[in-house]
Assembly symmetry: C2
């Protein structure tokens, strides 16, 4: 019985990873992190998708992250922006480091060695902790931390957004993407204008596939 744990935000990428894991492993569990994100609606969507996919789902609270960092993802009073050459204002220092570390602890306590996460270097938008080298280094560190043999899987690492959309179609989870939350403004229908919405729409357009998600704007 091979069991995997998916780090699952309820967004497009991690939902695709959830279905990828369902195909590769005989049993799949998912964890979603509540870290005080502005787009809290993604947690509600994550619950819906996990129920729909029939996987065990645990929400883990990490209040520490927003206590320690200043960014527009957890604070209403900071605008979402990206200046050229600078890190986006949505960057939460060390977010994936903390997420994957807690996911590994949870996996370890539950006898799971395979951890699946949706990081992608191709569209990493300046987030250093989405890059492949970070993930590989973290894999070694986690194994040393717990005398374990974790395997971190990042099936989207080298895919473009368009390729990820095509992978979702291949996995048969395209309709589920209507439930996913991408919009950084936390809107449903999605705003279509924030960096995350724009990236998503661009991916679907390039793949020549219709995005099943509802938008406030005309998406074409």
């Amino acid at each position: 019985m091979k069991k995997a744990l998916v780090v699952f935000s309820g967004g497009q990428d991690s939902t695709t990873c959830l279905y990828w894991a369902k195909e590769k492993f005989t049993e799949v569990a998912a964890v979603t992190f509540d870290y005080g994100q502005r787009h809290k609606i993604e947690i509600e969507q994550a619950v819906r998708i996990a129920v729909d996919a029939g996987v065990a789902h645990r929400i883990i609270n990490i209040p520490t992250l927003s206590e320690l960092t200043t960014n527009s993802l957890t604070r209403d009073d900071i605008a979402i922006s990206q200046e050229k050459g600078a890190l986006p204002s949505t960057f939460v220092s060390g977010r994936n480091l903390i997420f994957l570390s807690f996911a590994a602890i949870y996996a370890h306590e539950n006898g799971i060695s395979d951890i699946v996460a949706g990081m992608s270097q191709t569209d990493y938008s300046g987030y250093p902790d989405c890059r492949d080298t970070f993930i590989k280094s973290l894999n070694v560190t986690l194994n040393l931390a717990m005398d374990a043999q974790f395997r971190l899987h990042t099936p989207l690492m080298w895919l473009t957004k368009a390729e990820t959309v095509k992978l979702a179609r291949q996995l048969g989870c395209l309709p589920v993407l209507a439930l996913t939350q991408t919009c950084y403004e936390g809107k449903r229908p999605a705003c279509g204008k924030c960096p995350a919405c724009k990236l998503r729409l661009k991916g679907f357009a390039e793949a020549g596939i219709d995005d099943p998600l509802e938008y406030e704007i005309n998406k074409y």
Copy 2:
């Protein structure tokens, strides 16, 4: 101005590290983690020692750790024990991984690159995340996670407990060790019988130095 952050539990080792950092750096700050530990009294002692040492001190809450793990350090209903060949029941999976990751995030947000922590491989008692290889791997991972240039310092890594006691004398912080909290039972005067107390007493005995801490038992 070279500033360092000390991961500071209020115990003997991290107090020695605090004074080591005060000698090496021009400015020192300290962080203490409240993770629901049974021996919460160590946090009160940490506050006293930090005031005494004149360093800025921040307490960071990490409720997530005790939510995810089962161990005798955060749970009253599990006995403190160590079976031969097994991890001690006080082991919190990934504890130092989480502590150092949050410390690095805090340091990063405050423009600090030097982080000091009291891990020691010499008396690591089976905790994999006290070992030098883990610390070095984590250092690389933290730098990759935040595009940073952290330097993790572990001045006690290869010292015996007796050598650490001698280092404390050399740094002039021996009297401060009367304020430190070592006892896993959270007792003051210390129980003198738990694994942590025994290790401490052995170190002082081997160094031929009197432990300024009060014990319930006759320490000689």
